[in-house]
Assembly symmetry: C2
Homo-oligomer: 303 residues x 2
């Protein structure tokens, strides 16, 4: 089973609900809910982080695990141009977890929560064989303004923030700047709002599974294809493979109309044009005249 196919099968079985208030359902970075009478739409995203799948006890400090759990969810809010409101955490603890680990885990999570004004409002606690976290983050955008994956159109420019491949490199090396980037990715919340308000991005998503598969997904959702005009900017020391297929960088991928002027830098990182949207086979991504296979992280492919 591949992940996209599985999600598509589930989606096709869901009847449209009367008065649910859901305006965007399964398949984007967040679900979008419109409360009756409210000025804002609410964004909801959930992300699981599992011991020995997404982190290892021996290599990942507990405060970094807590940080990463929340950062994943916040990154989805950033990708839609939203502001965080609150989060819910479900946490299943393994037998080896002690008070020290747990305190450091919450310290990492709650520091990022305080800094991004994303209040921990509830959750669930259970026991399991492996530590399993599921974070739900709620964010808000002005009504009807969430940036979707599905809005990219022919001629739009394709951009990424920052440099790619650092997280994959860091996981290999286990030290240095890339490792730090792997342990404490910074969700691009302020950039997401800038991209929505000022650049009026036509589509966006966060780079959680790798550029090759994430751009493929954006193109599928928009019914378009993409041509990369250059190699993506790589994190210092990262290879082209890292930059194309490595996940967990949590940079933003976004498209803007042809004539939109995008600054080369924003805050302390670059915004780089890497290609353009084309008509053509939906989901196809081309680099140097060839199809770029979506080799990023698919949770259902054998790795």
């Amino acid at each position: 089973v591949n992940e996209l196919a599985l999600i598509d099968r589930i989606r096709r079985r869901i009847p449209a609900a009367r008065r649910s208030g859901i305006t965007v359902g399964i398949g984007d970075d967040c679900a979008v809910f419109r409360p009756s009478g409210a000025k804002e739409d609410l964004l909801f995203t959930t992300d699981m982080v599992i011991e020995d799948v997404h982190f290892r006890r021996a290599t990942h400090p507990p405060s970094a695990v807590g940080h990463r759990v929340l950062a994943r969810g916040l990154s989805d809010i950033a990708a839609m141009g939203g502001e965080p409101r609150f989060c819910l955490l479900s946490l299943a603890l393994a037998p080896w977890v002690d008070r020290k680990w747990l305190d450091a885990f919450y310290r990492g999570l709650l520091r990022l929560a305080a800094r991004t004004e994303c209040m921990l409002a509830g959750g669930d606690i259970a026991r399991a064989g492996k530590v399993t976290c599921d974070i739900v983050v709620c964010g808000s955008v002005p009504r009807g303004r969430a940036i979707l994956r599905s809005g990219a159109r022919e001629g739009d420019g394709i951009y990424v923030s920052g440099a790619l491949g650092g997280s994959a490199l860091g996981l290999e090396k286990g030290r240095g700047a890339a490792w730090k980037h792997h342990l404490r990715p910074e969700p691009r919340l302020a950039l997401g709002r800038f991209v929505r308000e000022r650049l009026r991005a036509t589509s966006a998503m966060d780079l959680s599974d790798g550029l090759s598969i994430d751009l493929h997904r954006l193109c599928l959702a928009s019914g378009v294809s993409a041509v990369l005009e250059r190699d993506p900017p790589a994190f210092r020391g990262a290879s082209l493979e890292h930059a194309l297929h490595g996940g967990e960088d949590y940079e933003l991928l976004f498209t803007v109309k042809r004539r939109t002027i995008v600054p080369e830098h924003w805050l302390d990182f670059p915004l780089t044009r890497i290609g353009a949207i084309r008509k053509g086979s939906p989901g196809r991504v081309e680099l140097h005249g060839r199809t770029l296979d979506p080799l990023g992280w698919d949770h259902f492919r054998a790795h």
Copy 2:
């Protein structure tokens, strides 16, 4: 570590967030969020269901697992008098899961979702050693009207719906009416609204972990104690132990003001007065002149 103590430690570390919109945070059945300008408050609850903790592959049919996952969340919405709006499902699949199991799981979940108009709006999918589900359910109530755990006051009558202990009995026997009740508990959504609108309940919660511990929690949240005037109504064949301490019945426990008239039956099940709220040591529950220990399910006590 005990669960209540752990939750309390987490709660004390969370700074109140400016403008979060959260009016009720950690510690009730649901978090309550007030969207700016909206007429309704939104309720959020998350519940984990883990293979070999909450169900077993060999004994629980997959459609029942799907049903139970959503029923747990809906029951929290019922306990606050809410109507379901949408849900999000995070699902980690074990290596043994095949398409047949997965289809039946979603069939069970989506049937209950359709019947209760609770649209599946998103989620996450991952791989893990054991099947791990985390359901988030969003519900709504008129602004300021959620029934909380903390509103019970001296003199209030204590009521339960239906009969207790059936789920624990069913799990022991593995067949018959009690087993059916264990496999497909019915969240008391309509009753929750009736209790809120007509009976103007002062407090409520759902019986997920057992009457003894759940009533203890309600009393703690309200700063009161409780005297049980009679044994709780038991499911046919269930013992007093089952009825007092068995979890997963998902009936409603609620309190009403002294003079409120509660019908003896509602739809096809009884509403039974089992005791009264008293001043006294917060959290204490008395039965037949003795303290009733909270022996229900605590996720952190060795069982």
